[in-house]
């Protein structure tokens, strides 16, 4: 009997899956702590700093919630599109497009501007709708290319990110620039700012939007005929067609929803944190959000915990830099290693360990 033997079919009990995921996370943390050591820092201390501030302090937790909201929205967009069979990666683009649309609208409500001041709740619905529509169209173009011309949406959507970022760069250096030299817009009117919801922190109402969106996505996917059709189209287009589903139409719809969610992430960031549009407003959240979705295994219910975890890590990274002298960019390494290890750990389930092979073979001699 060999010690490590290849199975005929990989084991897939929930226990096995949980085990291999746990091994993966631990492995990622061990590898990252090697990097900590390279910096001359104590790994335990570093991890402590990384996780303490965002989760054990009130103010830090507020910041965690702030980081969570856009991550969750983008993760939800990823889930809706990928599970429908549309491999969209253009969330950086949707984010900034949504942020731009929102800023434009908000600036238009400044006193003396096109629309003029509005009471907050009257105003709130408008940027959500506009931003969602802008993101939906932005992603819809890519879906069109796939549906009509057979283009590869993975690469096309990656390219659209750069185009969108350049569009926004142009806007903040030109038409929308505030007087003065800096490439950013004027500050948005106070009346458009999202209210704070946790006393003593800067956590704003955006997290509520994220929670609401999570609920809506979960309910739609699980409990509506539309969600059923999206999921079936993504799992098995042949069976979907056989079941009478319009697979092409569902693809385009999935793109709309995903783009809209991505844009809402930008809205939340602009109205809740930055209060102005500027170059580099995304900070890579378009990709971190995808990673959060992957960690959540494309399950809407797991998005909030995963987003809180990764949002917290981003917050803690700054603390870690201050206290242990380790650059905050190490969190990118940890965040991506975890997912890579989880993916790689799948291979563990293909093998079986026969501990019996370790027992010494007792030889009996006969004369």
């Amino acid at each position: 009997m060999k010690l490590i033997e290849r199975r005929v079919t990989p084991v897939d009990s929930p226990f096995a899956i949980a085990c291999s995921m746990a091994v993966a996370v631990v492995a990622a943390m061990v590898v990252t702590s090697l990097l900590f050591v390279l910096y001359g820092a104590n790994p335990l201390q570093a991890y402590g700093a990384l996780f303490h501030e965002p989760f054990a302090t009130w103010r830090g937790f507020g910041y965690t919630l702030v980081r969570t909201a856009p991550l969750a929205l983008i993760a939800l967009g990823t889930i809706v599109s990928w599970r429908s069979g549309f491999g969209y990666l253009g969330f950086e683009g949707c984010f900034v497009i949504g942020a731009a649309a929102t800023s434009w609208l908000a600036l238009s409500t400044a006193p003396g501007a096109a629309i003029g001041p509005l009471p907050f709740f009257a105003f709130l619905l408008m940027p959500l709708l506009l931003s969602f529509a802008a993101g939906a169209l932005w992603a819809g173009v890519v879906a069109l290319m796939r549906a009509r011309f057979g283009g590869n949406e993975v690469l096309i959507s990656l390219m659209t990110n750069y185009v969108a970022i350049l569009i926004v760069q142009y806007l903040v250096s030109g038409p929308m620039r505030a007087p003065g030299g800096v490439p950013e817009t004027a500050q948005l009117p106070r009346a458009t700012w999202l209210p704070f919801i946790l006393h003593g922190t800067r956590a704003h109402a955006g997290i509520l939007l994220a929670l609401l969106a999570t609920l809506l996505v979960w309910v739609s996917l699980r409990k509506t005929p539309l969600g059923y059709e999206l999921i079936v189209s993504g799992l098995n287009p042949s069976a979907a067609r056989f079941g009478g589903i319009d697979v092409g139409g569902r693809l385009v719809l999935a793109a709309f929803l995903a783009g809209g969610l991505g844009a809402l992430a930008g809205t939340v960031e602009v109205l809740g944190v930055q209060h102005r549009l500027m170059d580099g407003i995304s900070g890579g959240v378009g990709f971190t959000g995808i990673i959060v979705a992957l960690l959540a295994k494309l399950n809407p219910l797991a998005v909030i915990p995963a987003a809180v975890l990764y949002g917290g890590m981003t917050v803690g990274a700054n603390a870690m830099q201050r206290r242990a002298g380790i650059p905050s960019s190490i969190t990118f390494i940890l965040q991506s290693l975890i997912v890579l290890m989880v993916l790689a750990s799948d291979i563990l389930r293909r093998y079986r360990v026969n501990l019996a092979a370790l027992r010494p073979v007792v030889k009996t001699e006969t004369r």
Binding site: L35, I156, M159, Y170, I291, S336
Partner: protein, 314 residues
Amino acid sequence: MNFHRLLTSAFFVTWLAASLRLSGPVLLAALGETFAECSGVLNVGIEGTILLGALASFLTAYVTGMVWMSLLAAMLTGVVFNLLLAWMYVTVRASQVVVGLVFNVLALGIAATVYRRALGESAGPQSVAMFPALHIPWLSGLPFLGPVLFGQTILFYLTLGLVLLAHVLLFRTRFGLALRAAGENPSAADAAGISVARMRYTGVLIGGATAGMAGAYLVLAQIGLFRESIVSGQGFIALGIVIFGRWSPWKAALAAIVFGACDALQLSLQLTGVNIPPQLLLSLPYIVTILAISGLFGGRAIQPAALMVPYAKD
């Protein structure tokens, strides 16, 4: 203005020379990626590998000042990291797009962390030795062709040589035939006694070597320093160039020059003082790539038939 004057005008010459120069990194990356994709693997992680290659070449040049050593270090880095990627793609058989995407984030993290560690937090951008522009005697004195074609760095000429080598390797050797078979019909390759896994590993590793070189090109022959945004999507554009070049090295070279031209247009127009928003020009390469791969010019029908399809023998 007559034709001769146009051709030799500063604008035109600068533009074309820059087009060729700027096409280098993207072309290098695309060459190696062509091998990977012909074997059946789509490596989205190429963006990250270029970044890491750039970093390796920068650090080596910073420490040793020797450009050829730095180039070698970059290639080695590319190969090592792509070994990890190849393992995930071919042996673990994880989703190629997901692994590549996550790897890019990892690469960014590694690059940022190692760079700051090596140079200290507060240091500003440091410049390093570069490959000098060669001025080939007599030829570089020719009007128009001289500065455009014969005043480039040796790395550029090396790249052109690699285009030829890639073409020969891919289409005129047994190895190339076997590699392409693995990407077109892995079962047929298997039935002919070829190891599909070995072909795919090789394709991805070749991609790693050239992506590393591309990173070195950026640092040592183009910009002269390192920053985290040095790649800016050129890895993804290389993927587009592979498609636009129909998985053929010399066509990829043409596509790369088109890309370089778009990129260079922005630099050259600045010379003439034309009042176009720079972002419009900067976005041109990306938009052109999108159009090229939108499928308007032939979509999935022409790609290697088994691209992105993992092969598992029972």
